[in-house]
């Protein structure tokens, strides 16, 4: 539990180590679910950094949840990356569909929506 707080401070360069120590602590406390969540968060942070580099956009993805990251990718029309994100993080289908539909409605891509 202590690490949750330190992690919450979100000092960006320290995040990785905080997250991994949080994972450790949870594993020791036999909270596997939480441990795997922290692990996933860590993975996400790294992934976001990667995307930022490939898309050449600094600090747009950091501090965002999976949901928000996905949305951002859709907004920038990086559909392939978005689909990859879905598979990598085992996103639920429901969320995937909601996000897709929402995005299409926003961009008024009615034809695409029709096909969906």
């Amino acid at each position: 539990m202590f690490i949750m707080q330190s992690m919450d401070d979100e000092k960006s360069h320290m995040r990785d180590s905080f997250l991994s120590s949080a994972t450790e602590a949870y594993r020791k406390g036999r909270k596997d679910l939480y441990a795997s969540m922290c692990d996933e968060a860590l993975k996400l942070v790294r992934y976001q950094r990667e995307i930022e580099e490939t898309l050449n956009s600094r600090n747009q993805f950091q501090h965002k949840s999976l949901h928000e990251t996905f949305k951002l990718l859709l907004e920038r029309q990086e559909y392939k990356l978005a689909d990859k994100l879905k598979n990598d993080f085992k996103m639920s289908d429901k969320r995937y569909f909601w996000l897709k539909i929402e995005h299409m409605a926003q961009t008024e891509d009615w034809q695409e929506l029709e096909k969906f």
Binding site: A41, S65, K94
Partner: protein
């Protein structure tokens, strides 16, 4: 002036007078012009005791909120800080004093600090540490435990009580609650009968007894006040966590859910209040309309406790009555005319009030007619009726996927968890995963806190809620919203558990018939009759009604208050309720007070 506080057996305006005199005495200790710097969570409540006009009579020329930034330029002789004893506020004060000393006028100024309601050593240490204790001339206590809200309602206005006690195991505020109850007993005489439920309730009462014994030892009892309050019922919020989570459907409750009521005032979007001409002129700078809501206004007193579905009909009926009165002037004799003119200001005031409330009702209707509101309500009612509580609710999943406000989602999940006495591990896991996917890890922190408090848990053995629902008749199918016969009208289906307990206790005079039920609720129960000298006993008043103080430790909702008022208005009832609480809450503010970290 304080007409809305009087008119009951227990005259709440005493509290207002005492608090006001305390404040004025303190202010008079500093002759000259003054500026008051308010702790932002106190400025509102203190306004209930002393309005600005009273303060300015005592040479208060300026008021500022207490913030980390330095004070604006001012030229008063005294700067008075009024604050709760909290450490971070001390830092603000120190910062403010430092900055203000350096300004041109700073040298001549005096600084004072009033704590509400108690000094704290820790805070003084903190001030010393930052080197401003020497600059602060007077350090006083402005004793004001309870703020008067209405003729039957007082509140301590401390939102942290529940959180501190359950999450951080810190009973400081219970001590303050006990002080508040002692204060009430001093004012209205000793209370000869006590019931309570929940760990906090028991602890508070033990404190009350002990503190009173200590006080009696030091100063001989000199109060010969007869008891105005016959019974007290202490209830710990953790006994009934369900009620605050269910959407309130009374008029006042809905105003609170949608717009938020703070210190009896609420802000509404202004566009509904303007006539068409005003709308076109576009000269108004404000975009909020502030309205004071208390029983001083007859119309509001009539409709505040009604189910919202009954409010519309009542308003239109009133409107017709007024226009009828105003129209047939022609056929009146001079005598009648005279009467009419006398009544005119009253009528006009009523008409204005009516216009206001119609506008408010329209604002509410916009929300209550939305699909989102109706769907949420339906889901809530399914949970309360134990329908589909075992499964992961598709509606909640949808809400998460649409990234609705976190608190709104958690409120529903907590309700589900409570009604099925713990979620199935798989369901809980699934929710957690989805939450983290949408809101990031901060959701996990929130969930952890809720689990610690008991609002969220995974299933274990007994199903308390299903039993309670049957024995206490918590859900009623056919209650009329227009002419309610049972308290379940405040949530349309669900009768607040806390109020059911209060109902049973006052009716049967104790727990006896509830023994099986009480075992299912957390915490010990309390049933005592402290010794009170016979001379002080209120020999059952002529009409045989007794006054019961219901004190919620950890906050209560407007719907609960409405339900209590409804109970005392029932034909066969012979009780009058006075309600005390540590804070007025609704589901959203309640969860926020737990989740938010600071």
């Amino acid at each position: 002036m304080a007409s809305h506080l009087q008119g009951r057996k227990v005259d709440i305006s005493f509290i207002q007078t005492i608090a006001r005199n305390n404040l004025i005495n303190l202010l008079e200790k500093c002759p000259g012009t003054k500026a008051i710097v308010w702790d932002s969570c106190l400025a509102g409540p203190v306004g209930l005791v002393a309005q600005y006009s009273i303060l300015s009579e005592h040479q208060v020329t300026k008021m500022f909120p207490l913030r980390p930034q330095p004070l604006p330029e001012n030229d008063v002789t005294h700067v008075i800080f009024i604050a709760r004893p909290k450490l971070e506020l001390m830092d603000y004060i120190a910062h403010n004093v430092h900055a203000d000393c350096k300004t041109k006028s700073g040298a001549k100024k005096q600084y004072h600090l009033f704590f509400v309601p108690k000094k704290s050593l820790l805070c003084l240490e903190r001030l010393k540490h930052s080197g401003v204790l020497g600059n602060v001339m007077l350090i006083e206590e402005f004793v004001c435990e309870l703020f008067p809200f209405d003729s039957d309602l007082v509140s301590m206005e401390i939102p942290e009580v529940f959180r501190e006690y359950t999450l951080e195991n810190d009973p400081t505020y219970l001590y303050q609650t006990a002080q508040a109850i002692i204060f009430l007993q001093k004012l209205y005489g000793p209370i000869p009968r006590v019931w309570g439920k929940g760990a906090a309730a028991k602890q508070v009462w033990e404190l009350v007894v002990r503190l009173q014994r200590e006080q009696n030892n030091t100063e001989p009892r000199k109060t010969n006040q007869t008891s105005c309050i016959d019974k007290i019922f202490l209830i710990d919020r953790s006994v009934d966590l369900i009620t605050p989570l269910a959407t309130q459907l009374t008029y006042e409750g809905l105003i609170d859910e949608i717009f938020g009521i703070n210190n009896s005032t609420a802000n509404f979007p202004i566009h509904n209040f303007l006539t068409t001409e005003e709308k076109n002129s576009n000269t108004l700078s404000e975009d909020k309309k502030q309205i004071i809501l208390n029983s001083g206004e007859m119309l509001f007193a009539d409709i505040r406790d009604k189910n919202f579905n009954a409010v519309g009909a009542y308003l239109s009926q009133q409107a017709k009555a007024i226009s009828a009165q105003m129209e047939n002037i022609q056929e009146k004799t001079v005598q009648e005319m005279k009467l009419y003119v006398q009544k005119l200001p009253q009528l006009l005031a009523k008409k204005k009030a009516l216009a206001h409330h119609t506008a408010i009702a329209e604002c509410i209707k916009e929300v209550t007619d939305s699909y989102e509101f109706l769907d949420t309500l339906q889901t809530e009612q399914e949970f309360l009726n134990c329908i589909d509580v075992d499964k992961s609710s598709p509606y909640i999943e949808d809400l998460i996927c649409q990234q609705k406000p976190l608190v709104q989602v958690l409120r529903l999940i907590c309700l589900q968890s409570l009604t099925c006495s713990g979620l199935k591990p798989k369901v809980l896991e699934c929710y957690k995963k989805e939450l983290v996917h949408t809101y990031g890890l901060k959701a996990l922190l929130a969930v952890t806190k809720l689990e610690k408090v008991g609002l969220l848990k995974s299933q274990s053995g007994a199903r308390q809620y299903t039993v309670l629902r049957k024995t206490l008749r918590l859900t009623m199918e056919d209650t009329s919203e227009m002419n309610p016969t049972d308290i379940s009208y405040v949530h349309s289906v669900y009768a607040p558990l806390s109020i059911r307990l209060a109902e049973q206790v006052t009716k049967n005079g104790g727990w006896k018939q509830l023994q099986d039920v009480m075992g299912l609720l957390p915490g010990p129960s309390l049933d005592e009759s402290p010794l009170v000298p016979n001379s002080l006993l209120n020999t059952e008043s002529a009409d045989g009604t007794s006054v019961v103080l219901v004190f919620f430790i950890g906050g209560c909702t407007f719907a609960e208050i409405s339900a209590l008022r409804f109970l005392s208005q029932l034909e066969d009832s012979n009780v009058e309720f006075v309600i005390g609480t540590t804070k007025l809450i609704n589901g959203t503010t309640f969860l926020k007070s737990i989740i938010e970290s600071y």
